[in-house]
């Protein structure tokens, strides 16, 4: 399959790069001094694009690749891919669901515990020698707090299952109710926020869910409420989040994603009621390998005319 051209958009995983290089004619877009030129030069042979959470196949790129047949994303989030255009042109799209579900759910719980029990602040307290001068202050109990989940998909369900083991009552907002669960459904994010103590964003990013957590929702969550985002930065109105935290209208936040990664609002750096992670939800050795294998597996299936492993389009 060496004559098949595959365009990788940004560095994402060296194991994936290796595996693609072995099988295909791999074009690494980030090495090109002039990207549009590079694309033009190789457009004739590029039949597949591999993107991720940070860079995907937008309309412009798709138009520039007349022989494009498949977009295989190294992510479960597909907000960087122009899905409508792919559908229009009959381009297949695959992603990496399931293999990363547990890692992201683990991190969501880790963020909840870290914010409520001030794990990172306590660790700083010890390392700075302050414990010798006095005890750290009291925090608030995690067990039993009501957890509200926006988006009860694979990741939302995995978060719910874990939180339940801490006796946390679970409620959720979803596009539709999920009758086969016993969790309490709220028909709007605002009602959900008013009725939970920890609000977790776990839905996919679409035009409808952009800024789904806005000022109103954060005010409803309140000065004792904690907001956790393991979805996409644009789910939350970031400037509003910053002012809510700085003004004390929101009790705390655990964030793995931001509107303009890797930029993180510096006003958050001085706050002790936030925990800030650099988009590491799926960043484990085990999961990245499984994601890479799924990307390669999907491409191989496509080019052998076999059924795709995890198609979205």
């Amino acid at each position: 399959m060496e004559s098949i051209g595959v365009l990788m958009l940004i560095p994402m995983n060296s194991y994936l790069e290796q595996e693609l290089q072995r099988r295909y004619n791999l074009f690494k877009l980030w090495t090109a001094p002039q990207k549009p030129q590079f694309i033009k030069e190789h457009a004739d042979s590029i039949r597949a694009v591999v993107g991720n959470a940070f860079a995907g196949a937008d309309a412009e790129l798709i138009e520039a690749l007349p022989r494009l047949e498949i977009v295989s994303s190294f992510s479960v989030g597909v907000d960087k891919i122009d899905l409508a255009k792919c559908r229009e042109k009959g381009i297949r799209v695959t992603y990496t669901p399931d293999v990363l579900t547990e890692d992201v759910a683990d991190l969501a719980i880790g963020l909840m515990l870290a914010v409520l029990r001030r794990l990172c602040e306590s660790d700083r307290y010890v390392r700075s020698g302050k414990w010798k001068k006095g005890d750290y202050k009291l925090t608030t109990k995690f067990t039993g707090k009501t957890v509200g989940i926006i988006g009860l998909g694979r990741i939302g369900m995995a978060i719910a299952k874990r939180a339940e083991a801490f006796n946390c009552p679970i409620c959720y907002y979803s596009r539709t109710g999920k009758p086969d669960t016993e969790y309490k459904y709220y028909p709007s994010v605002l009602e959900l926020a008013s009725n939970c103590q920890i609000l977790v964003v776990a839905c996919s990013l679409t035009a409808e869910t952009r800024h789904i957590v806005n000022r109103e929702v954060m005010n409803a969550l309140g000065p004792k409420g904690v907001l956790i985002n393991i979805g996409r930065g644009p789910h939350i109105d970031e400037p509003e989040l910053v002012s809510a935290l700085v003004e004390g209208r929101l009790g705390g936040a655990g964030l793995d994603v931001y509107e303009h990664e890797p930029e993180v609002p510096e006003e958050l750096f001085g706050l002790e009621n936030v925990v800030l992670l650099p988009h590491v939800g799926t960043a484990t050795v085990e999961t990245r390998k499984a994601m890479a294998d799924l990307v390669v597996g999907n491409l191989e299936a496509h080019f052998s005319n076999k059924p795709l492993l995890s198609p979205l389009v």
Partner: protein, 313 residues
């Protein structure tokens, strides 16, 4: 009951102090500059001691208070109380089990997640502005890691219940097997350490369990293993722990307790595979109030000649 004199050994809770002052004649040990001074004024009036994890009731104190009837500990751990002497002299002892179980189990889980996924390191990484220069490195998946628990009491069982929700197989070492659980029993701690990836110390500190986690156990856990201590510092041979971490013979550690609190070995401060907390396992507003209420209720029950709520002796 304000003719009854109660001795509080150290500042532990403003709420508890107020409650004790309202009901009894409260004497605060830390307000005396010398022991002789203290004993001169109070030795014949004190009928109850309220102690904690810092100062309990040792033989010297018990022997110097001839009217002592009850020791009510603001803790579940009893290692600072001379239980044998209390038994000998017919002095009752109570502690605060159950009310703090969830909080301590939550911290154990928080430590596991924080070490495995480098939550505190990542937070530091973001706040130092390092993310724009490059991603944080990959960590290891937590879900599915084998968790070994030393001591399957209330807290050990609560940890097991939570870890199970992350798909973690549970094994344990305890003085006796617990056939009512499905967890795998190991009859000695070395075998437990060999067969798990995360070893959690959740047993009581007694003469037998002092340094139960020694060099041999640490080596058995190994360079990929993680040690979590939410019990008592002296359950682990601390100098051995430090050298194992510095030499890479142990993969990581999450510690809420230390041998000489609030002293923490400074060689640990530069390590990114440890998370250090200042003995905050039960330090939430909710739980400390519940612990204080239990101390008060036990004292009231004793002086009203009613059954104690949570007696140990």
């Amino acid at each position: 009951m304000d003719s009854i004199t109660v001795l509080m050994t150290s500042p532990m809770s403003d709420y508890l102090e107020t409650q004790l002052k309202d009901r009894f004649n409260l004497v605060k040990l830390w307000t005396y500059s010398s022991k002789t001074d203290f004993f001169k004024h109070n030795s014949h009036s004190i009928r109850a001691i309220v102690g904690n994890t810092k100062i309990g009731a040792d033989a010297e104190l018990i022997d110097s208070l001839p009217e002592l009837e009850i020791v009510s500990s603001y803790s579940v751990g009893l290692d600072k109380i001379d239980l044998r002497k209390c038994q000998e002299k017919g002095i009752r002892v109570t502690n605060t089990p159950d009310v703090l179980t969830d909080d301590v189990a939550d911290v154990a889980m928080g430590l596991m997640l924080a070490v495995a996924r480098r939550v505190c390191e990542c937070d530091r990484f973001v706040r130092r502005g390092l993310w724009p220069k490059g991603d944080f490195r990959l960590t290891n998946k937590f879900s599915g890691m084998q968790v070994g628990i030393v001591g399957l009491g209330r807290i050990g069982s609560a940890i097991a219940k939570r870890a199970e929700a992350f798909g973690c197989p549970i094994s344990y070492y305890s003085r006796s097997e617990k056939p009512e659980t499905n967890y795998k029993y190991f009859s000695n701690i070395i075998d437990l350490a060999v067969n798990c990836q995360i070893l959690v110390v959740a047993c009581a500190l007694t003469e037998e369990t002092h340094h139960i986690v020694n060099r041999e156990v640490i080596d058995a856990l190994g360079p990929e293993g993680i040690l979590i201590n939410i019990g008592r510092g002296s359950l682990i041979d601390e100098p051995e722990l430090v050298s194992a971490l510095l030499q890479g013979r142990l993969g990581g550690a999450g510690l809420d307790v230390f041998e000489n609190e609030p002293e923490v070995p400074e060689q640990l401060f530069g390590l990114e595979n440890v998370v250090l907390m200042p003995h905050v396992g039960s330090d939430t507003v909710e739980t400390t109030d519940a612990m204080a209420d239990l101390v008060i209720k036990n004292l009231e029950a004793h002086f009203l000649k009613k059954p104690l709520l949570t007696p140990v002796v």
